[in-house]
């Protein structure tokens, strides 16, 4: 009998004893987290609990004070070209969209591939057009961001991120700045991404999204992950009082 081939297992993202302070506020307190390839993780928690900071440290938009963050088994570089290279592989979608205001939608999407990946402009435009079609805003390709609704802008931001072929995507409250009728158009795109196998870490309070596609829900409070489980376990049977209180508070409205 031959030895079974042991595939070396490398998590997509790994946090090891990560700490961060803002002055006296301990905003990340001993975070340990492993995100497997293809996993969809939802981070939930009261405001100020450190959830945004948590995902912003994954591409070093925020630095950390102690501990280690690994992307595909390699420590996150501190600066320079290596950091830029890792950032190119880690997609980020922001609460306030952050599209480049002076560029058309199409130019927003091709900027990364052309400048960072060195794709030629024509190819980049073809792929961008396909991505814009996929997120349902192909007709807005030649407008500037301010001419689009919030939901459309966020879908463009997702397309811009996808154009880099990221290995993992981080979403920082992607629907919190949207009018209610636009939330679903963005969530639908995210659901489709999740079902397509994208590794995602999503800070959101959208329970339906969490229930439909997430593998795990993390509940954060005071800079710590105080509870985690499948969406069913977490939403139907939270273990801690903090989580129960929090879920009550967001259910009431």
């Amino acid at each position: 009998m031959s030895e079974p081939i042991i595939e070396e297992h490398v998590p997509m993202v790994e946090y090891r004893h990560v700490h961060k302070h803002y002055g006296s506020l301990h905003v990340l307190n001993d975070i340990n987290l492993t995100v497997e390839p293809g996993e969809v993780i939802v981070v939930i928690g009261p405001s100020g609990s450190g959830k945004s900071t948590l995902i912003r440290t994954a591409n070093r938009l925020e630095t950390i004070d102690a501990g280690e963050i690994l992307i595909e088994g390699l420590p996150l570089p501190e600066e320079g070209k290596q950091l830029a290279r890792v950032r190119a592989e880690v997609g980020m979608v922001f609460q306030s969209f952050n599209l480049f205001a002076h560029k058309t939608v199409l130019d927003n999407v091709i900027m990364g591939p052309v400048s960072v990946l060195g794709v030629n402009k024509k190819e980049a435009e073809e792929e961008a057009a396909a991505l814009l079609r996929r997120v349902g805003v192909e007709e807005q390709a030649h407008k500037v961001p301010a001419q689009l609704s919030g939901g459309q802008q966020q879908r463009v931001a997702i397309a811009r991120s996808l154009a880099m072929h990221p290995k993992v995507m981080l979403f920082d409250e992607p629907t919190s700045a949207l009018d209610p009728e636009m939330i679903n158009e963005v969530l639908d795109v995210m659901v489709e991404l999740a079902r397509g196998g994208m590794t995602m870490v999503v800070v959101t309070h959208e329970m339906n999204f969490a229930k439909r596609v997430s593998n795990r829900v993390l509940f954060m409070a005071d800079g710590q992950i105080i509870e985690e489980g499948t969406p069913e376990q977490f939403f139907d049977n939270p273990q801690t009082d903090r989580a129960r209180d929090f879920l009550e508070s967001i259910k009431t409205h």
Binding site: R85, M92, F94, N98, L99, F100, H102, V116, M164
Partner: protein, 219 residues
């Protein structure tokens, strides 16, 4: 002397003076814009000594009267064996001062760009230089058209310091002194130069407004 007599006798000189003012303005402004851009990039770059130097530069030249600086370039620099022709002295002086103000304009233009866009650029993996070239500078330029239009007018008026040195041929203000030491033109001599300045400024303002409407970024 009436206007007709003045123009009859000195009309050609007014024409030359206007052209002199124009070319000094254009050269000074081009130089000032280039220097202002370099200073501004230094002021936002990650290297601290460069930031400190550029901040210091701006503070110094924003706060020196043009005429004092001109006296330094004309009378002090030769002691260091640096001798420029008078017109170059005026242009250098104007560039130094206008670049400080221009850099302040650029900085306010940069401040109109949200931190979020910078973070988005960093998230895509753009280097600092790419981020400057593609995100920061184009937006900063497009949002400072009106203040930079004002600066162009200010540069034109600053070139009047040339009247304090014996430049040949004189520019608009220098010409006033030239004429009034030879004839009795009085206030009319000023009036003609003033009309030239005002006419140019109105034109600059008109073009600036048009340009601003065209490139202004929708937010």
């Amino acid at each position: 002397m009436g206007i007709e007599e003045l123009l009859g006798q000195y009309g050609d000189m007014y024409g030359t003076a206007l052209l002199t003012t124009w070319w000094m303005t254009i050269v000074s402004y081009a130089g000032a814009m280039a220097l202002a851009l370099v200073l501004t990039i230094m002021r936002v770059c990650p290297i601290r000594p460069l930031r400190m130097f550029a901040d210091f530069f701006v503070q110094v030249f924003r706060n020196i009267p043009g005429i004092s600086l001109l006296i330094i370039t004309v009378y002090a620099l030769p002691k260091l064996d640096v001798i420029f022709p008078y017109d170059i002295c005026v242009i250098v002086t104007t560039i130094l001062i206008a670049s400080a103000f221009g850099s302040e304009n650029f900085m306010s233009g940069i401040n109109t760009i949200s931190v979020g866009q910078i973070e988005a650029a960093r998230s895509l993996g753009l280097t600092f230089g790419q981020m400057l070239r593609q995100v920061v500078i184009p937006q900063a330029l497009r949002s400072v058209v009106l203040p930079m239009t004002n600066l162009l007018i200010a540069v034109m008026l600053t070139t009047a310091i040339a009247s304090q040195v014996p430049m040949k041929p004189p520019e608009l203000t220098g010409l006033v002194s030239y004429i009034n030491t030879r004839s009795t033109g009085g206030i009319t001599t000023f009036l003609i130069s003033a009309l030239c300045y005002v006419g140019t400024a109105v034109f600059i303002g008109y073009v600036g407004n048009k340009l601003d409407k065209k490139v202004r970024i929708l937010r």
